[in-house]
């Protein structure tokens, strides 16, 4: 068979080409140029502010002059531990964040499962849009809408009234309801992605080996979806931990965020606010370590 060679005109040596060739020969330079901006942002704006926060947590406020004294000490953390009010606020925040996470996981699983494994592509796309839709409107508007629902002469009591029932009113239950509503999409979407990634053949193999649907769900689907649940729970848990607007609007009790807000704005005690703000960070770190111990990231 005759061999044919194709000849191309030699490429022109324009400056752009030479630069591209230089980058090709020096992949490290190329990588540095590519990452300089995002890395700079990450280090300065993101880690930098975290570092300032962490440092500030060890300063203190001079009680007489109300000036910030920058010699490091643990007195802020001491205050947080000693004062039962702060303890109670921390426990309440974590408790509600956990309740919201569990609620969202339970609500999200069937929806995500249906989207990933049952629905036709049309229905699936429709559901994705429906789930994302609440995210298009402002957070504040949504919480105010819940105020309207939950308030004493609100829609809920109006609907329950004929049955002799009464809504939960403002308080911890209201917070739990509103947070669960607000963060549900953040649980559904990662879970949907995680469930979609499980190959059909694994479920078929389980059935082929004699397992019924329930067993396949317990031994195959659930363990393989666990990393996705953890990913979603990081959102629901941390978003709840850090919030201060919802507690303000639908309850009369305080969250960690409310204390931080009050100390920065009203009391002007930045060090104490910083110390309290590190608490959710520590809780999240503990939570992630626990999830890792439970093997949540093993099949990633």
């Amino acid at each position: 068979m005759a061999s044919v060679t194709y000849t191309q005109p030699p490429p022109r040596r324009s400056p752009g080409r030479r630069f591209a060739a230089f980058l090709y020969r020096h992949p490290r330079v190329q990588l540095s140029l590519l990452l300089a901006t995002p890395l700079g942002w990450l280090v300065i704006a993101y880690l930098g502010s975290l570092a300032v926060l962490f440092l500030a947590a060890f300063w203190r406020l001079d009680p007489f002059t109300a000036d910030i004294v920058k010699d490091p000490g643990l007195q802020n953390f001491q205050t947080l531990l000693d004062n039962p009010v702060y303890r109670e606020i921390t426990i309440r925040t974590v408790k509600i964040a956990a309740a919201v996470t569990i609620t969202d996981a339970i609500l999200a699983f069937p929806i995500a499962y249906y989207m990933a494994r049952v629905a036709t592509p049309r229905v699936r796309n429709l559901l994705v849009v429906l789930i994302l839709m609440p995210l298009w409107s402002s957070y504040l508007v949504k919480v105010y809408a819940w105020r309207v629902i939950l308030q004493e002469d609100g829609i809920l009591n109006w609907a329950l009234g004929p049955f002799g029932l009464h809504g939960p009113g403002f308080g911890e239950i209201a917070m739990w309801l509103v947070f669960s509503y607000l963060w549900l999409p953040y649980m559904i979407l990662p879970l949907y992605a995680g469930l979609e990634r499980i190959p059909d053949s694994l479920l078929e193999a389980s059935g082929d080996l004699g397992a019924r649907a329930g067993r396949t769900f317990r031994t195959i689907v659930l363990p393989l979806a666990l990393p996705a649940v953890v990913a979603g729970s990081i959102f629901t848990f941390s978003l709840t931990l850090g919030d201060f607007i919802t507690p303000n609007l639908v309850s009369s009790v305080q969250f960690i965020g409310n204390v931080v807000y009050a100390n920065v704005g009203v009391a002007n005690n930045l060090p104490l606010a910083a110390a309290f703000a590190t608490v959710p960070v520590l809780i999240m770190i503990a939570y992630l370590l626990l999830a890792k111990r439970l093997g949540a990231f093993e099949s990633l």
Partner: protein
């Protein structure tokens, strides 16, 4: 001869009850929307047989296998496993196991947990489970790999685990969907021998899907050649190769050497054709035709000549490189040659499912 004439087992007047076939399909049909994947298949597979479903991609082999496993329900027809109608039974209620093309090992379980899965589901005790799993791993030559995770194994090793996981349950029928498709040639050839050995060792009926004609010919006791959701021929490998029932089978199994002479179509296998030397006398009674070498393909051990015949048509001729070098054979391009073959080695082909020998 009528080895290929298929008989419907359901026809009236059936004689005395035969020993139960392990798998029996009657008029099985399945379509996906407009696509007819399996278009009315009748098939009987005997106990202990190594049976292959051979056909090009998209011909419906996988769909048929999935119907036997219970992952798809046929639109029409009946599936029998050892004389039990399982058409409407779920996969977990059928005494078959599948080796999936992508192996489908559970990534979060160790190798031994994978292999023990079927036994655990059936409630087999821990002690027995352990020893049977280890035995199965031994059989596929992976003893002591139980603690690893699937991700720590190579493709060939995963394939063996998938086999062990299925075989440890001692199913009546093992279904394999192109189990060696993802392996490289050398490993594939090794595994072909291994699979055959294991099948003979355990005596389980194997239903083996492949698009590789060589694989089907070397491994099977019998095979069914698929085309467009239909079976073109069911026969032993040698019969399929030497006496293809249809033009499709002739072309798919081996090289398509089909000629039409005096209104008859027939097949001549390339290795049965001889190129006559200059001035050489043909055998008495041999059929001789002359033509021009259009192309020469040197493939190491043999050379393939593609010859345009004067009387019309084209033949591929294979010749061993006994004394010729690559240089010599490549110079044959464009040369005038005479070809001879024995008429008794040609096979007339007719419509689907029929065939007469050209004698």
């Amino acid at each position: 001869m009528s080895t290929q004439a298929r008989e419907r087992p359901s026809e009236a007047g059936e004689d005395a009850p035969q020993p139960a076939a392990d798998v029996r399909l009657e008029g099985v049909r399945k379509s996906f929307g407009d696509v007819v994947a399996v278009d009315g298949v009748d098939l009987e597979i005997d106990q202990g047989e190594f049976f292959s479903l051979l056909g090009p991609s998209g011909s419906g082999k996988t769909t048929l296998l999935r119907i036997i496993a219970g992952f798809e329900r046929p639109d029409d027809g009946t599936v029998w496993l050892a004389d039990v109608d399982v058409t409407n039974k779920a996969p977990f209620d059928r005494d078959v196991n599948t080796v999936f093309q992508d192996y489908a090992l559970f990534p979060h379980m160790s190798i031994s947990e994978n292999v023990e899965y079927g036994l655990k589901v059936k409630g087999v005790g821990k002690q027995e489970r352990r020893s049977r799993a280890e035995e199965a791993l031994q059989m596929v030559r992976l003893p002591g790999y139980g603690k690893r995770k699937p991700s720590q194994l190579s493709g060939g090793q995963r394939q063996r685990v998938a086999l062990a996981r299925a075989i440890v349950n001692r199913p009546r029928v093992l279904l394999l969907d192109e189990p060696l498709g993802a392996l490289d040639l050398k490993l594939r050839e090794e595994m072909q021998i291994e699979l055959k050995r294991i099948q003979q060792e355990v005596g389980i009926t194997f239903v083996y899907v492949t698009h590789d004609q060589e694989e089907a010919l070397t491994m099977s006791d019998r095979l069914a050649v698929f085309n467009n959701g239909l079976i073109e021929q069911i026969a032993a490998p040698a019969d399929v190769y030497e006496r293809p029932a249809t033009e499709f089978v002739a072309g798919f199994v081996g090289v398509s050497n089909v000629l039409e002479r005096e209104g008859q179509r027939f097949v001549v296998r390339p290795e049965k054709i001889r190129i006559l030397e200059q001035g050489e006398e043909p055998y008495a009674g041999a059929h001789v035709e002359s033509g021009q070498v259009r192309d020469v393909v040197y493939v190491g051990m043999v050379t393939r000549y593609i010859v345009d015949l004067e009387a019309g048509g084209q033949l591929t001729v294979v010749r061993q490189n006994l004394e010729t070098s690559s240089q010599d054979v490549l110079e044959a391009r464009g040369a005038q040659v005479r070809l001879e073959w024995r008429p008794e080695q040609t096979y007339e082909i007719g419509e689907r499912g029929q065939m007469e020998e050209d004698e």
